[in-house]
Amino acid sequence: MPTITVDGVQYEVEEGRTILQALDDLGLLMNGVDVPHYCWHPKLSIDGSCRLCQVEVEGMPKLQIACDTRVSDGMVIHTTTDRVKSAREGVMELLLVNHPLDCPICDQAGECKLQDYAYEYGALQARTVEPRRALKKKVDLGPTIVFDQERCILCRRCTRFCSEIPATGELGIFARGDHSVIETFPGMELDNPYSMNVADICPVGALTTKDFRFKIRVWFLEDVPGICTGCSNGCNIFLGVANNKVQRYVPRRNDSVNDTWICDAGRMSYQEIDSPSRVKASLVRGEDGVLEARPYAAAVEAAAARLRRLVESKGPGVIAGVASAHLTNEDLAVLKRFLEALPTESAGLPVPRGEADALLVKEEKAANAAGARALGFEDAAPLVERIRGGGVDGIVMLGHDLLDPAYLGGIEALQKLDTVIWIDTHQSDLRHVAHVVLPGRHAAEKRGTLTNHAGRVQHLQPAVEPTFEAHAEGETLERIGRALGLTGFGGDPAAGSPTASSRK
């Protein structure tokens, strides 16, 4: 392995890497060793067009671009010399020659590399007296992205992304010199399942998503690390939170899971958190057959009472548990313990399925199917047969995936059940058959772990608090278990439980 010296410190690096790649491998890039760059991106091909990453390499008469200069043994690199600084200043001045400097109305302000580096390396005053190029400020590139031609610095990250990652190649650079603009083929749109990533990798405010555009200033956002729950890939994300509301998801780099990308469907799934279809109230079906809102504790008592009556009349074996592949390992462990303590062996795991692709999207449309299986929950198909055959009288249902066409396909088979306890985050037809409804918590609202398709266990932490009373599903099961007097369910569910959901 070659040894290189960067600013007086020696590092062992991998053969064949470029200087920027080597620094990135070491975790030092912009994190100890600052080599500013626009066109270079760790997950895209090398372009070498922005010229900002120039560094001094001993023995080479001219400055070299760090993104496309390969390391060699004994290479001595300087990133902070006056020559390097003045080169950066020169490049910044050229990049800013035509930039509109409309930061006050630009959505990128606050997370803009041009802004950051202009602050660090830019001149306070432009030396040009010529007018800046006037181009289109609002080009509709497709269903997800809006493009501001004036702000573009032509780093080509977006064009390379489209041709290399989703391999759809919608974007190109048209014309030449300072007439150059990013465009799509005439009549075509930027429309692929990963299109919104171009807004993340755009180092300036040229490409913005229609969803987040003008929503909120980014400096009001707290970036809470989390996991996308759209499928079993478990892409790492930051949840941008302001005013106790998740305003957006952006990908968080994890080279073992999602590199620096996330699919558009996953990105937009933040809307489920604050959706009008959330289960917001604890409900109990009264004597008249109508669901009524009750305090959470009373609904827990009602659930326990119904289950107790069933256990006393027919024994615990007629009660079935339905796990949800959306829940955390901790929630599911409580369900497992709950069913074992009843005791009943009747359980199943419905997993919603859909389309997969070769990049990130997986077939299983839930974040923790692997974790649920690891805990011993098996596919719900046999349970569906048992329900249809009349072998089940009571059901403790987490989530509503059992209604999927692949499983029950509807509520019909559940209508004759004596007891349906339903704990869920979002509304479904189960409200027509449930006797007790208890609100659950979205992954953005609780602590816990999720196991992705490859068996990687990833951590969740609460990013927002629900605006209504909702407890993690495991916590609710703890309370029902305690009300039932089940073995092992004596403790304080909120304090001791690993699913304790409150934020601080």
Binding site: G169, L171, G172, F174, E183, T184, F185, P186, M188
Partner: protein
């Protein structure tokens, strides 16, 4: 398909000269433009299929070079050189006079579709300035009278 069989055969023999097929794109575009007068987006799609590249890549090349046209042009492309030696010999005045003679500005096409007029950088005929180019023919040592005669003679 708008690219003719003859053009297609010529493209194939051009491509054979390059280690990578896409290297033949520029000569292919010249051939297509020679046949059709311009390269419309639909033609770019056809070219992309021939070269097994994305249509947007053909558009990138097409828009990069001034001498490729994505929209129909007049039957003759007339370019007046306005680079320094020609300018010193009065080419800018000549261009202005040609503009008023034809009733169009540089960059426009006459209503009858006969002539598209433009100005051009150096064509290497400085010793015979001022000069203009009609399609692929140079006309040198011009004055207005000579220029008008040439233009009026175009079909």
């Amino acid at each position: 398909m708008v690219i003719s069989e003859d053009t297609r055969a010529a493209i194939d023999s051009e491509c054979a000269k390059y280690p990578q097929k896409r290297g033949g794109l520029l000569p292919a575009m010249h051939l297509v433009q020679k046949q059709l007068g311009h390269i419309a987006p639909e033609t770019a799609v056809e070219l992309a299929e021939i070269f097994d590249i994305r249509p947007v890549e053909v558009m990138e090349v097409l828009t990069f070079y001034n001498m490729f046209f994505s929209a129909p042009r007049g039957r003759h492309n007339v370019y007046v050189c306005t680079n320094l030696p020609c300018a010193l010999r009065g080419s800018r005045t000549l261009l202005a006079q040609i503009e008023s003679h034809l009733g169009i500005a540089a960059g426009e096409t006459t209503e009858d579709g006969r002539i598209s007029l433009g100005h051009e950088e150096c064509l290497g005929a400085c010793a015979y300035a001022p000069m203009l180019r009609v399609d692929e023919t140079y006309h040198e040592n011009l004055d207005l009278e000579k220029a008008n005669q040439i233009l009026d003679g175009l079909e």
